[in-house]
């Protein structure tokens, strides 16, 4: 089974890191094939940026996303720029509810998560918004398990950032829309 995930947002929101974490959880801890790519270079500065992850049980021939099964947008410009390719009927769409106001009504599965707000208010650091979102994503899609994403965070993050991120992940995992 091939799954395509596209993550988009604002430079500095940790979008690419979300992709890297997903790839690690699936590829390293769950033994799946993964391919993770991202937008790159100065053209990505300030404006919208994106990361893509393909997860599959088989060899991945095409590494880019064409019709993402999951689309995450953490800003309105990023949503607008990268929403192409999703299937309004089937794609699971996650948005930061305070940063993405306009979501076309045609899109069926929209998850509105106050990721930045939760990060800021509950964890004291809005930089952790991506981890909150990651939690919500994992909870709602089971694209990887909560356990492997936790294992990934402990392996990949420097010690001093772990507490904050575990807290943020939990807020995401436990958030009810």
């Amino acid at each position: 089974m091939r799954k395509e995930i596209k993550l988009a947002g604002f430079g500095g929101q940790g979008i690419i890191l979300m992709g890297v974490f997903l790839a690690h959880a699936a590829g390293y801890f769950e033994g799946k094939e993964v391919a993770q790519t991202q937008s790159y270079g100065p053209e990505a500065r300030g404006g919208a940026c994106r990361a893509e992850v393909v997860i599959s049980d088989e060899q991945i021939d095409y590494i880019k996303t064409l019709n993402p099964d999951i689309f995450v947008a953490m800003s309105q410009p990023a949503f607008d720029k990268y929403v192409f390719g999703i299937n309004p009927e089937t794609t699971e769409v996650f948005v930061d509810q305070d940063l993405v106001a306009k979501v076309p009504e045609e899109i069926k599965h929209v998850h509105r998560i106050p990721a930045t707000k939760l990060a800021e208010e509950m964890c004291g650091n809005k930089m952790a918004a991506n981890t909150v979102m990651l939690g919500a994503l994992v909870k709602n899609t089971n694209i990887v398990s909560a356990d492997t994403i936790k294992a990934t965070l402990s392996k990949q993050l420097p010690a001093k950032l772990q507490e904050l991120n575990f807290k943020a992940l939990d807020y995401g995992l436990n958030y009810c829309e």
Partner: protein
């Protein structure tokens, strides 16, 4: 937008691709004022290197070449020699000017050709993502000096002077007024003029070297680490310890300029 921007910025290139708080915009503004004051937009040629800083002239609605990494001065030399009345201003990063472009830099200075080089010194390779530069402080940790930089940095102003430049100045982006005035003076000077501008790069140098992306903090650091030559005159050696001199460091108005000497000789020969 600021009226200078309205007047001189190339339509369709905005927004600037620079990160928030980047010093390149300050240099751009200072340059626009200088060019406006001089009123020479019609006979100026601008040349930008490859790097964040090399973009500065590409936003200006003038005749501009955005060239190859490190090769600003040779392109500028061709532009200057092909029209002796043209003024040429080069914008070059510290990597562009002193790294890959170091040889052209010293040879341009040696010739004392009438080109103004504004070198944007942010202590790092900004555009490529924060690698060590020939200006990175000794022991500084960057993406390619993760255990600390093993190489002492150049003093670009000293190098320019010894190589033959006839106008040498240094400022920081915390001195936008002085910078603009100096750019104006450098362009008016006939000969190779070099201006080193220390500038904040919050995204790369800031994060990688100083652990902060706070532009204001970085700019404060720049300000504090420098002292103007006039102010320095009354200071003791102790007080000057660790301070970099800013201001017009060297100016020789009498040194023969390459282009005019060249054409003067040509006239003598071709009128034979």
């Amino acid at each position: 937008m600021h009226p200078l921007g309205e007047k001189y910025i190339r339509k369709g290139t905005l927004p600037y691709l620079w990160c928030p708080g980047c010093g390149n915009g300050i240099v751009l503004h200072a340059t626009l004022s200088a060019l406006d004051e001089l009123n020479i937009m019609d006979r100026i040629a601008l040349v930008g290197g490859i790097g964040c800083s090399g973009w500065i002239p590409t936003y200006i609605n003038a005749d501009t070449m955005h060239v190859l990494h490190g090769r600003t001065i040779p392109f500028a030399t061709g532009l200057k020699m092909s029209d002796r009345d043209r003024k040429v201003v080069v914008f070059s990063g510290d990597g562009d000017c002193l790294g890959i472009g170091g040889n052209h830099f010293i040879h341009g200075a040696r010739r004392n050709i009438d080109i103004t080089v504004v070198m944007i010194h942010n202590q790092i390779y900004g555009m490529t993502g924060g690698q060590v530069a020939p200006t990175t402080p000794y022991n500084g940790k960057t993406k390619t000096s993760p255990y600390g930089n093993n190489e002492p940095p150049f003093d670009a102003c000293e190098l320019a002077r010894v190589a033959g430049a006839s106008f040498v100045a240094r400022w920081t982006t915390a001195h936008p007024r002085q910078l603009s005035k100096t750019i104006q003076e450098a362009i008016s000077h006939e000969g190779f003029s070099f201006i080193e501008v220390l500038t904040q790069c919050p995204t790369q140098a800031g994060r990688v070297l100083y652990g902060t992306a706070n532009a204001a903090k970085l700019l404060d650091m720049l300000k504090e680490s420098t002292i103007s030559i006039t102010a320095a005159k009354n200071k003791s050696a102790e007080e000057l310890q660790g301070k970099l001199l800013v201001g017009k460091l060297y100016h020789d108005e009498c040194k023969p300029e390459f282009t005019s000497c060249y054409y003067r000789r040509n006239n003598a020969i071709s009128s034979l």
